[in-house]
Symmetry: D2
Subunit: 346 residues, 4 copies
């Protein structure tokens, strides 16, 4: 039988007990709906602690909602959003950004999931010419979809470039915690301090049940976001339950502990895998993802016991994700299977 535990995605995990506890505590009597309550105020205060006093924070239901509405708040439909070919907004949101922000995505090759200013510069030839969508936002994922991480200086270079050219920088931080844990920096160091304009801050992949946050580092950008959120079908009526989760996540370093643990498990897996013949790591392991190529015929054999995704059919490249609740035992069992398959002459 297939193992319950999986390396398919960090959202196959459940909810961290402290976060579930916070939900239970918030379930106490009546509060005003739609965020005008003390739980939401407390959560916003927590965000300001971590990201800076001046941030504006809006909670939404999910990650696609956070990304799309964040982008919509920065753009008009004749704008373009520049991103990596591998970006979640390009690959995994069923066209929601184009559909709802109405914008064009201009994608750049990004073998390791990262983009840089040099790649973006040629796109600026379009500026001012009405036949072309107008570049307005650079969107980066931190950590990236390939498990890599931008250093603070790399981000700063992008935001400087953006601001020099009248563009804005959007960060998809569905796994921002993993990046900060890897770099050993604060959340602020790689967002506000690095010049980011708008951030999707993810909770669900790091131990929450549901709920993401759109964080604005410049108040002028969020002026009408409450309308965008409501019209964008992302306003939760019983908001306190998202808020309480975030307060727990951002307290006592839970966000970092969860992320660091997941990262560590990925590194453990990567280290073990790198010694297995015929399996080859394809990306640096800087967060909670391990990418590897392996003989095509291994895949179904391994998948009989563990569910995971083939990332690139053509290259027979797979992705294994760890999560806050992955155990060393999970890794050990999985590695044993890998070794067995690799040694079995499949």
């Amino acid at each position: 039988m297939r193992n319950q535990r999986s390396f398919a995605s960090d959202n196959n995990a459940g909810v961290h007990p402290d976060i579930l506890g916070a939900i239970q505590s918030a379930n106490d009597g009546h509060v005003v709906a739609y965020g005008d309550d003390s739980y939401t105020a407390a959560a916003v205060a927590k965000f300001r602690e971590h990201f800076g006093e001046e941030v504006d924070v809006y909670f939404v239901f999910g990650g696609t909602g956070a990304n799309v509405l964040g982008l919509k708040s920065l753009t008009s439909p004749y704008h373009a959003v520049v991103c990596a070919e591998t970006a979640h907004i390009n690959v995994d949101e069923c066209g929601a950004p184009e559909n709802y922000a109405g914008c064009k995505l201009l994608t750049l090759p990004a073998p390791d999931g990262k983009i840089n200013a040099g790649q973006i510069e040629p796109l600026l030839h379009a500026v001012g010419i009405e036949h072309h969508a107008q570049p307005k936002v650079i969107s980066v994922s931190q950590s990236t979809e390939m498990g890599t991480v931008y250093g603070p200086r790399e981000i700063k270079e992008l935001t400087d470039f953006a601001h020099r050219h009248g563009l804005l920088l959007h960060m998809d931080g569905a796994r921002l915690a993993n990046a900060a844990a890897h770099l050993g920096v604060s959340l602020r160091d790689i967002t506000s301090e690095a010049g980011v304009d708008v951030l999707s801050f993810g909770g669900t992949k790091n131990g929450m049940m549901y709920g993401e946050a759109v964080v604005f580092f410049d108040g002028s950008l969020s002026r009408d976001f409450k309308f965008i959120r409501k019209q964008g079908m992302q306003l939760s009526s019983k908001m306190r339950f998202i808020a309480a989760q975030f307060t727990a996540l951002l307290s006592d370093d839970l966000w970092r502990r969860n992320a660091a643990h997941a990262n560590r498990m990925a590194m453990l897996l990567a280290d073990a895998v790198s010694e297995i013949p015929r399996i080859r790591l394809t990306q640096k392991v800087e967060s909670n993802a391990v990418f590897a190529t392996l003989p095509r015929e291994f895949v179904p054999v391994i998948q009989r016991e563990y569910f995971f995704y083939v990332w690139n059919e053509t290259a027979s490249e797979v992705r294994w994700m760890t999560s806050f609740d992955t155990t060393e035992d999970d890794i050990r069992s999985f590695v044993e299977l890998l070794k067995k398959v690799a040694g079995s002459g499949v």
Copy 2:
């Protein structure tokens, strides 16, 4: 100090303990994300028990999402959706239906929140003429935003009319449970049996934390809904937690017990209010809402202690909602205050 307990809305209440319990039980290890898990399968089975074996069910995050995506699945942008002026989709969704389905709403006067075929017929003159948005869907709320309820026959008349003219019937059932409880019928009696095509079935206002369902009574209408849901930013990754809530809500008649209780509390309030001088009920009380006009100067005095909404500024009409956790004590205290204000010569 303002009372914690309020009559502002049924979503100022928290989560029913049985539903919170179900969430906790579902927090057990890993399951595949996005709904391919046994919790979701169980919830879908529960829906089929209540609504018929042939229904297709999709869970989404919230009520606006349920309505808008349901409507989008039934329409092309050149279509029009016919609804009451008072409909939530017309008044309380910040233009999301027009914005996201791209359709026009054609609204009908509805003093009690209900519409009928006679009102819709003249709109059919537009059919086939390219200058006019093409009527395609009739959307009704059950129970209505005015607290009234369509009888099964009234719904049948609307669905018959719709189908005779090539239209579809959409039901906003954010408070469907209250309607079924009031009528003493099954959920099926006023949906599938009455010819409804697509239903938003609400959980949040009836004791859930978050999550609504889009229920299709005709499989051909839902064929591509999974793409609409994902692109519409309403696909929850940790789907099991919405599913588990619905399973609890639809088990052991919890949905009906919660709704019937709220209805009963509304009736209690209405009965008491009807005897207070200068406060006049304006709608039949058939679910968990009480509408009343009262002297304009009463409002701020009462609002000092209880938060609620003025429904119609011009008429000084207010709305008081009860919920699954409203107590007889809540009603008593509130009525006492009303009496005091009414007697005080404010």
Copy 3:
């Protein structure tokens, strides 16, 4: 056989000879496409002569395009546009404003096609509340779809109200020329001088072949309009041919002569009709439209010889339009037929 000449609409007429002549003259060699040519510059200069030196002008293909893109330039999708129930944008554009601007229309009863500030005021209760689309634009038609005309003071009252409340005033001037001719004022008097923010200025209904103009009276509103126009599929490549038409229309008072003639013909028709038993005028005749009720059984008999539209099936109300090329003979023949039908005991 049905008469070639009709009273169905002013766009059943052809092109005024002077305008056709201007097109021919513009067909001379190569010019840069998309409006960067001397014909376009000359037409813009003509607009500035008539509307004020500060106006920004953009030519588009048609009237729906002019209205929808003008509105889009003034709004975000969470905004609402307030207009008369009878407005072309509400009734005759197949939902294009909602679909493309993404906004909600808030409609007001307008028996004579006109709206006023008193009606709009209650809608402002929605301002700031995220559940409601936010009123942002008031759109009026001049002359109205009912053939009536706002006086300069009526417009000023609306624009003052709008600006006092942070709203903008959009004018659908598909038949602005007819209004100016009726009032005996300049185009400026009822637009820039009256505080209008954005105008759709119509050419097609007043003797042009195709082409409308979006006129901005405040440069800050048009900043990105060239992108909106291109993305909105309204950028003509061989722009000079729209421009040349407008230059001709705005020269030697052609716009006023055409409109005044059409108005005069409508008045002639109205005068004659008012003496025919059982036919009753239902609107003041202030432009080139005549509205009348008549016995239902007259309609098919008259339509055998003249094509026109029944405006309101229920009331048996019809609309007869005159155009720049309607002749006194046309009126005479038509009136004779009406008399014959009215006297025939049909």
Copy 4:
């Protein structure tokens, strides 16, 4: 002074005299607006002569409108349109396809402007997975934006591939006439006979003033197109003037004569250019475009006398277009200038 004649684009030319003549002839009295007239019927009949009796034809204002509305009629917003990176819909429509059809474009590298089934196949891995936009349409340009032409067999391979996989084939035929002229085939041979589903047939670049046609080869696809066209702001009221132009273009082989002439002029230019040192042709010349790289410093010198576009700044690649009215003298003078610049030691 800059030469009036240019090689910037085929839409810098004016209107062919026969087409202008047809417009004048159509300016005769009243006809019903919006296409219910004999001129439109005649034009549709002409299309059926050329494309097959079963085609449905709708006239629109411009090329972007034709492409975007054609694509919209084939897709739902969760679909993707596969096209060449160089496609007009990807590069030159300011994001209109994404914005208005709501779809994602999936672009393929296409050094010569052409794509093939082998490139598309890997994109089909996305089919059925809700996280990814669903490939539904393959869009090709004929002739391509790089001046190359698909042979009938190349098109057939694409349409066969498309239909085998449940996709549809859209053709941007803004310059279809040039392709047919180059291949020496009928319009039908490379559209209906080759399995194309929907075609944008261009008139403006081939001697018309304005107006394009959306041609459906399968009636089931056009069922609601009249609503899409109206809502898409592309319904011309005085339709007869677009229709009359198309009738003229499709009569007496005018479409082919114009296109063949432009093609011949391009070939003349290419032949001459190929002998000029330091200027290098970069594409096969199969229609009316000549692409060439030349020393960067040549560009401003040539542009002092002739307006044209630099196609690729990085490569210093330029595009020169010929049109129906380009003369051998035009070519000679331009080539002389090129030679002078090339020999001048700039």
